[in-house]
Structure formats: C-alpha cells, structure tokens
Symmetry: C3
Subunit: 137 residues, 3 copies
C-alpha cells in the first residue's frame, strides 16, 4: 500500500478542495505518500492570511447544493484546510506550488499558506510523480 | 488488459456523466474492471426516481454546445445512465457511493439508483483502487 | 522515465487547456510519451481556423483571475496551442479526436487543427492507454 499518489490540484472551488483533501487523507491513512502540485485556482486558495473567500462551488451544485454544504460546515465538519493539515500529521503529504502559477498570480514564497512545503516546476513535478497514480482535480 | 480502472466521479453535469459512462464502457469492453466512487454532485445524479433534472453542462459548452447535446439526445443517443447499465452487463463495473457525500446530501441506501452497488468510505475506496489507473471526473 | 501518460482532455476553458499543455510539455521533456484524447469541449477547442473564442476560464477564476491570465498573455506567455506544438517537437505527443465527440460537434477530419493526428474510438484509446498514468482534464 505504499503506491505513491500525485494530485495536480487546479480547481479552487470549496467542494473540489474538500474532495481533494478527503482523497488525500484517505490515501495517507492507508500509508500512501501523496504529492500535491498546486496550479491556477488551486494555488490561489493557498494564499497566506487570505481574506476568507465567498464559498464557491461547482456550477452544478445549485442553491440546494450550497445549502447542503453550508449545513455541514455549520454542523462542525472539518474544513478542507483542517483535513489537509490532519493528513500531513498522519502521513507523508508534500504540497508544492507550481512555479508558473506563482508567476501568474504574482505570488512569492511568503504569500503562501504554511501548509505549502515549497515551489517547483512542472518537470520536477513529473520527476516526483513518475510512479504510482495521478489525479487532476 | 485486466488493469483495474478507478473513477472518482465528482461532477454532476450531463456531459461529464456521459464522458464517464463512455470511458467506463470502453474500459469494460477491453476487459478491465472499473470501480466508480460517487462523490458530491456525481452522487446527486444517482438518486432513485429523481425528478428529471434540467440538462446541465460544463459552463464552456455555451448555447451551441447545449444544442449539439440535445440534438444527439433527440436522435436517440443512449443516455449516460443507459450506457452505464450496458457497461455493467458486458463487464465488471462496481459503483459505490461515498459515505461522506451520503451524509452531505442526507441520503440513505434506499434513495439511490439501482445502478449503485453499495456505500463505502474513502479508505475502502483507496484499498480497492490501490492498483491500476485512477481518474477524477 | 518512459512511463506513458494519457490525457482525456474534456474541458475547453483556456486555463485548463493551458494546464494540459504545460503538463504535456513537462512530461515530454522528461521523455514520456503522451497520448491525448480530445472529447467534448476539449475537441471543440481544436477546430481548424476557428474564430478566436472569447477567453473562457473556470468559473472560480473571477475577474481577478481573468485579469491575471490576460496580463500574462499580453506579456508574451506562450499560448496553450504554442506550448503543445513545442511539446510535439521535443517529444512523442499523439493527439487523437474522440469519434463520438466528432459526431456530437458534427466535425469531419478536415475541420480539425493540424495539431490533431487522427480520430479514434474510446476502445482504441483504452488499448493505447492500457499502461502508465492517465488524467481527466
């Protein structure tokens, strides 16, 4: 069960971030190393001290989907951020920002959430993700 | 050709459900076992006896994309639901609902479409999907 | 490092096309063969001599994300099309249109961008992608 899992985390909606966090936590729980590569709006969600953003969901969620997500959050469900932090405590989870997306969003290393372990280019990502499974979220 | 394929089916738009169904049917046709894990709006699409939903597509489809999809449906193209049912007849296709998403949508086992084979947690998903390829749709 | 990479390229927004092109170029740069299967709106983006489309992004990009993407384009960033063309020069990149999506969009082989190498069905895609990693974008 030590098959590595790599995730290119492109999306910045709350529901996909939550799905990515849950899949990461589950993989870490069964002993798999997880390597997350933050691109575009996925990276945008990992700004340090960012103002809390309006809760954005996939367009098909609709008002009922939003109400369901907000009801769970009010009931105390762990946020995607908390779930990822827990996954880093129980397993080997490495979170890297894509250098091209850093340029796109005009971010420097100090602008990133402490959950982010570093910045790397796409070639480094593929060298790290050459084995195991890979997801684009 | 018996490499397993796992799909985390998160999206609930008609076009992505159709793409997931076609990829599943093709994999089943070449003898691969397919394990589908329904999350969020992907699970929402598998409600039993659900009222037919308005046809939702990815935002970039636009009016021309919607017209194209509706023209094919009118011409008798199999729905994603029919395609998945056929895939289950010709191959080994296991469809499991994510237990966390069941809570989110307040669903019980009786609320699910008969195509769904059961409910599992994310750890069980990763144990089942530890080998082969995996997609996030 | 010759592990094959297959990509089902479903999405047609500029940001996901750019992410797909960058991931493809990076994989080609480390010597991996890449097989791209164009479906739905991903195929729609590969029309020959298409009128330039309005720049479409994932919904969560918002006005700030659009401004960031346009600023990079103005500063001379390679387009996703240029990046893919370069990837084909440095590595083994095979781009195939999904035959079902060709029917959906009422396209013939002459309607396709010269970057597209051919048309194939989903079974052929899975036969080509039976080994290595696979992404759905």
């Amino acid at each position: 069960m030590d098959e590595p899992l790599a995730i290119s985390l492109f999306s910045g909606t709350d529901d996909k971030l939550q799905a990515a966090a849950v899949l990461t936590a589950g993989a870490a729980a069964v002993g798999r190393p997880v390597h997350i590569f933050l691109q575009y709006w996925g990276l945008d969600a990992f700004r340090a001290n960012g103002a809390p953003r309006e809760r954005l969901l996939a367009p098909e969620a609709g008002p009922e989907g939003l109400a369901a997500v907000e009801a769970l959050a009010t009931a105390g469900q762990a946020s995607w951020h908390d779930t990822l932090a827990q996954a880093k405590e129980i397993g080997e989870v490495d979170i890297q920002a894509c250098s091209l997306s850093m340029d796109l969003l005009r971010l420097g290393p100090d602008d990133l959430d402490p959950l982010v372990d570093g910045v790397e280019g796409v070639t480094a990502f593929w060298l790290a993700a050459s084995e195991g499974q890979v997801l684009f979220i």
